[in-house]
Amino acid sequence: MSDKEYKVIGTRPLRQDGTDKVTGRALFGADIHLTGMLYGAVLRSPHAHARVLAVDTSAAEALPGVKAVVTAADLPTGVGGFTGTGEGLVNVRYEAENILAHTRVLYHGHAVAAVAATSPHIAEEALRSIRVSYEVLPPVLDVRRAMEPDAPVLLDELRTDEMGRQGDRPSNIASHIQHSRGDIEQGFKEATVIVEQEFTTATVHQGYIEPQTATALYSANNQVTMWCSTQGTFGVRDQVSEVLQIPVSRIRVIPMEIGGGFGGKNRVYLEPLAVLLSRKSGYRPVKMTMRRTEVLAATGPASGSYIRVKMGADRDGRITAVQALLAYEAGAFPGSSVGSGAGAMFAPYRIGNLLIDGYDVVVNKPQAAAYRAPGGTNAAFASETVIDELCEKLGMDPLAFRQLNGVQEGDRRPDGPVYGRIGYLETVAAARAHPHYSAPLPSPNHGRGVASSFWYNYGGKSSASASVNSDGTISLVIGSVDLSGTRTTIAMQLAETLGISVADVRSLVADTDSVGWTEGTYGSRTTFATGWAAYKLGESLKREFTQRAAQLWEVEPEKVRFADGVFSTDGEHLTLKELAARLDETGGAIMATATVEAEGYGPGFAVHIVDVEVDPETGKVQILRYTALQDVGRAVHPDYVEGQIQGGVAQGVGWALSEGYVYDEAGHLLNTTFLDYRIPTCLDLPMIETVLLEVPDPAHPYGVRGVGEAPIIAPPAAIANAIYRSVGVRMTTLPMSPPRILEAIWAQKPG
């Protein structure tokens, strides 16, 4: 849909870090080994909710091989304020309390103490010798129960932020937000058909394969060096600085390769502990790596939720009113993804009358973190299922409904902003025309469902620099951690700008002392924003080269033209490489730096089509065919775009069918391994077809839109809708596991 012709953008070069990653040479967080290195380990609460009466570490300290033990008493007191983790601001005091419990443990797995020893086994033994006295308190795990006035209160000082007004008594409701427009009472009066439904979704985990890991060296000169697996090096630096009260100028964070993040590796857990242990052990480096059990029990789950939706439409299928209530688990401390969920919920639709209430609620579970399109998947499971039921009652094709009600440029989103150029209607039309949508379904137990995704995407701040080598290649230095090939997609945008091959641009992800402040790799922002910085670098380098050429040719710079990697003036021309070879005689090295605060990011929309087969005897759902269509703006590297979509769909399928935290009544997390917290394997998925629609973002030099988050949103709703068409049951609880589906089938057909 774009008529611009590019030479590099849209091609599929091999990724720069690929060889190291297929040969095992790439160094991920836990792969570092430093001289004199100690191994850290964390003691975690066996209770979901308890007062910490005393912590006795004397036996652990006396154990041969143990070099340091820390508890909350080692953290600076009186920290406060907010710092950015990336996806959302973090309350520093709560973050400190999450890193090490002070007087109260708030979830099963909450850190209480940490040790460093000469081997990981000695560290584990030391943990077993720490004595902690607890006074066990009743936990609250269900978000609706937590909202009741007589529920156990987690944080005595917490008062509800009631749309800006402060509540007057302790509550687990951290905040209440609202989006409102028009008159919903009038809207529902105008409706011919109304559907009202309640939904619950389980707490789920990002499920990255690489556990959290951090290595720190606190040197005798008070300098801190950290080697981290993180989505944002500057986020780590700033959080550690705030929590430990160490100036940022004394902290250097070196990014290692990162084995997946999906929003879960913005917040720090181990990093401050490794720093404290390093200092206390007499300035020895300390490596800490979580076990999988700890990853599931103590790091960023995505909010479980309770959602209620009421939606009305007139006989032509036009939406007349929408009302929704979303209550999201924040975990132990405020900060669920309810805000982004509530804003995204009906974003694909033109709605005149709406009222959306969102509640951020603390419960005795690990502190929720961002997870790919935070909050969007829960919300869309509810809204897109209700729309399907509405379409059924109206006798309307679900994609025709979306064509009738779908948003386009100039329409207003539920949370306020007006859309610029977006590609939702193009995506719906492509889905309707896709052969998958009209393919016959072979058996009565097969069903087909559709659902839509919306995600905001993000721009934000990025820095980069570039220097020119004498052979005409460019060394590109970026602050964006690479989770999926962004070294290459950013290099491609610089190569495109300079008219050179991407093989001539080498990207380096730099530490916090070597590049300007850059936000983390989150919010589908990196190819968009850091790519924009690369474009600016290219423009700067072109100006420098133009000066050099003008100097060589003894003409005014205005007389020098640039096209397709060649500088020319009347009768003279030099390629960029030829000019680079003559830097030495024209004033020496050429460097450029660029910083951006990228505005104008455009949202992404997707439509997913899925065929399932449900076994009515077992309740097992098998995904037979999956097609994801998405407006991707401009596919800089189409393979990576496809991969982002396929990976997002797979996570959405797991959320839909098999993933979910299981707790006992005392609040113990029961499924802390990949055997029973079951993410999809390749037997659970078919090939995932992708259709890339390109409606360029007019604000971006290359039309780039974020891609990575939208694909996780639609799968649970699309699969629920397909299950309905297969066996006739409307599923309203995630995951839609075999027992739940069987129960729904039995409830529908008694006996």
């Binding site: 040969t23 095992g24 081997s119 000695i122 093989a503 396929q646 997002g648 797979a650 077809e689």
Partner: protein, 173 residues
């Protein structure tokens, strides 16, 4: 601390001797003692396959094997897959098919796929999926991984349709 044991083994076609505690897993010794950090730890209980190695011709999770068990045995890790002549066809295929994103599961997948192709050079797609179901990937949705393995196996996969025709970098040389 338990008494350490001297172990003799052959790792990636080289004779190796090392000392280890009886409680140490092969995974821990590979990574922390021998510096072979290409073998990854994802779960340490045999569920994710990131630590896959080939032990006397059999695919194993090195987190579930004690290091003392490899006495007089032969181990192939990801570092032993390529040859001096270059990358193994599986490694080339993973690159060409962009079968990795973060790359942390990639060593396990390549070792597992090699073990499959060593026994069954031309597996079908269901056989590939069945074999690789012990390896977890959270980034890719497995699509491009399965395609890469099938490509090396020489198995054509009739597709529903391709969304994009392959293209090449046509930037200035």
């Amino acid at each position: 601390m338990s008494r350490r044991v001297l172990i003799h083994a052959r790792i990636n076609e080289e004779d190796v001797e090392f000392l280890c505690e009886p409680r140490q897993s092969l995974l821990e010794v590979l990574r922390e003692t021998l510096g072979l950090t290409g073998t990854k730890e994802g779960c340490s209980n045999g569920n994710c396959g990131a630590c896959n190695v080939i032990l006397d011709g059999v695919l194993v999770n090195s987190c579930l094997v004690l290091a003392v068990e490899i006495e007089n045995k032969s181990v192939t890790t990801i570092e032993g897959i390529a040859s001096p002549a270059g990358l193994h066809p599986l490694q080339q295929a993973f690159l060409a098919h962009t079968a990795l994103q973060c790359g942390v599961c990639t060593p396990g997948f390549i070792v597992a796929a090699k073990a499959l192709l060593d026994h069954n050079p031309h597996p079908t797609e269901p056989e590939v999926r069945r074999w690789l179901s012990g390896n977890l990937c959270r980034c890719t949705g497995y699509d491009k991984i399965v395609r890469a393995v099938l490509a090396v196996a020489g198995v054509p996969r009739p597709d529903i349709s391709e969304s994009h025709a392959p293209a090449r970098d046509q930037g200035a040389a």
